[in-house]
């Protein structure tokens, strides 16, 4: 069909920095405050006022830049990006243009084109008809958000499918959260993502015409929006048409994409250097210090889990790229000296995540503590409970919490005394000499009858693998 058309995706991410005050004035930042209680002549764009950059915002932006492996410009400056919109009281946004704060980074196999600083716009709410002019509505402007420090991160078009875009954004969010520079909450708008999407014949080195997708304010919407756009572009190209460069708005309710009404000359921003702001020139020592102070980031954590703890790549990635899951895992590893990290990792990323999800929770939010999960995996490893029993115990832990050994006793799930199990196996072999002879003769399937007999005898509590091992041992195999 259309297998020869391949998509290319680049992302543009805006991150609100978690500073106390705005980018260029001392107004406090507070999400969800009453409208317009955090404004001043600077962030309202009154004439004659002067912006002064927030030192902490610049520090946080540098921290992001070095965490993304970027080169920080020894000297960058601010520009004015000129356009008129009611959320922008000065008539321009202070941003960075020709020399951004940082360039040329990499995260999770995706190249970072640039990282720059700017200020957020105010919040506009459309309130519909005013009645004064027929057919026109009014908008309310809340300038609390206006002037919030924003870092814009632009990737190269290195992503080739919607699910990968979603996964990459999740990795970026975990990385930023780890840095402590932002709330990175998509619902509250402290993390926002636009996507540039194009398709081209697989053999063509040249990228196709790209469209820009806005308003994908959740991970799921990002994936669905990009999916829908790729499908739309495929249809155009396959029916002989040409994709037009435009900006599209994703409507999650219908899964549809609507072109934003092309604001005439919208891209004629007439950037020029902001004369009211001096250049930002971080010293090499400051950049080195920022690099040295980075915490362990998800990709490094994944590498450590693989190299030092012997986790499989996919399991290591799932744990490491989810900060809360990684913390749970590490606490469990510390608590459970007897359990192997690989087994713990499998239980946490497998059964525990699944059981927690059934309750709409993250594992850390359930009643199961890392120490309890470690203890349970320890009991399983010691053969004191079998896999099915362990799963039952985990269900109880997730629901009610408690101590695994006590739950095993209470529910009578114990695999019992190893000597006792050996005796049961011995009896089963004696009672079914026919099956035993077949197994001895190399008829592998015959062992099922013996295992079945033992499991019946132990009411399913014995560990199947251990029973098989004992049978073979007693038959001298």
């Amino acid at each position: 069909m259309s297998a020869e058309l391949v998509p290319t995706i680049g992302l543009e991410i805006h991150v609100q920095l978690l500073t106390r005050t705005k980018m260029f004035c001392g107004c406090e930042l507070e999400f969800g405050a009453e409208p317009n209680v955090h404004t001043c002549p600077v962030c309202l764009g009154h004439p004659g006022t002067l912006p002064v950059p927030n030192e902490q915002a610049i520090e946080s932006a540098i921290r992001i830049a070095v965490a993304l492996g970027c080169e920080v410009a020894p000297r960058s400056g601010f520009h004015r990006k000129n356009y008129f919109y009611p959320d922008l009281p000065k008539g321009y946004q202070i941003s960075q243009f020709d020399v951004p704060l940082a360039t040329a980074g990499r995260l999770g196999g995706v190249r970072i084109h640039r990282v720059h600083l700017e200020e957020d716009a105010a919040k506009l709410s459309h309130v519909g008809e005013t009645g004064r002019i027929h057919g026109s509505g009014a908008s309310l402007v809340d300038f609390n958000r206006g002037g919030t420090p924003l870092v814009e991160i632009v990737t190269e078009p290195d992503i080739d499918d919607p699910a990968a875009a979603r996964e990459w954004l999740a990795l970026l969010r975990t990385t930023l959260r780890q840095l402590g520079v932002s709330d990175v909450n998509m619902e509250e708008g402290s993390l926002r993502c636009d996507a540039n999407v194009s398709i081209r014949p697989a053999a063509s080195p040249e990228l196709g015409v790209k469209t820009e997708l806005k308003n994908m304010n959740s991970f799921r919407y990002l994936e669905r929006g990009v999916e829908a756009e790729i499908a739309r572009q495929r249809e155009i190209v396959e029916s002989g048409g040409a994709v037009e460069q435009e900006t599209l708005h994703f409507d999650p309710a219908g899964g549809t994409l609507t072109p934003l009404r092309s604001k005439e000359y919208a891209h004629d921003y007439r950037y020029f250097p902001e004369p009211d702001l001096a250049p930002v020139a971080p010293s090499a020592a400051a950049v080195d210090a920022a690099r040295a102070s980075l915490p362990e980031l998800p990709e490094q954590r994944r590498d450590r889990y693989e190299a030092d703890l012997g986790l499989k790549p996919e399991v290591a990635r799932r744990l490491a790229f989810d900060a809360s899951l990684a913390a749970f895992f590490e606490e469990a590893v510390t608590a459970g000296s007897a359990s192997a990290p690989a087994a713990l990792a499998n239980w946490i990323t497998g059964d525990l995540v699944a059981l927690a999800r059934e309750r709409g929770l993250e594992p850390a939010a359930t009643a199961a503590t890392p120490a309890a999960v470690a203890a349970l995996v320890g009991l399983l490893a010691a053969g004191e409970v079998n896999r099915g029993g362990a799963r039952e115990v985990l269900e109880v832990l997730v629901r009610d919490g408690g101590e695994p050994a006590a739950i095993v006793d209470r529910l009578d799930l114990g695999a019992g005394d190893p000597d006792e199990l050996a005796a049961i196996v011995k009896r089963a072999i004696e009672e079914d000499a026919d099956a035993a002879a077949k197994v001895r003769a190399g008829e592998g399937k015959a062992i099922g009858a013996l295992v079945g007999a033992v499991m019946r005898e132990t009411r399913g509590k014995a560990d199947g693998g251990e029973v098989t091992r004992l049978i073979r041992e007693q038959l001298d195999l």
Binding site: R20, G26, P35, N36, L44, V52, E55, Y85, A138, V141
Partner: protein
């Protein structure tokens, strides 16, 4: 030379309504400014750093410490219209 079309384009971006006489005057004035800049462009500026400021300052920064904001009433006093504690404007989507 800046022509009439370009003046109208720039005026539109700046949300200025110019009458015909003003368009003509602006075309001449803007052309004059451009000619001046072109004259500077003829200088040999090899090795001269661009100047965006008259003083050679850098890293003029502010500590991240809150300063008092305006009372909302005062902030809204300059608004042509207000409602629900907000600046009310004609909808840009209308």
């Amino acid at each position: 030379m800046i022509d009439r079309e370009q003046v109208l384009h720039i005026a539109r971006l700046a949300r200025l309504r110019l009458d015909d006489q003003e368009v003509e005057r602006m075309a001449a004035e803007l052309s004059g400014i451009l000619e001046h800049v072109e004259a500077i462009g003829e200088l040999d500026l090899e090795g001269v750093e661009p100047t965006t400021h008259v003083v050679a300052l850098e890293n003029v920064l502010r500590a991240d410490v809150p300063a008092p904001s305006l009372d909302r009433e005062r902030a809204l006093a300059g608004a042509p219209d207000s409602a629900s504690g907000s600046f009310r404007v004609p909808s840009p989507q209308a």
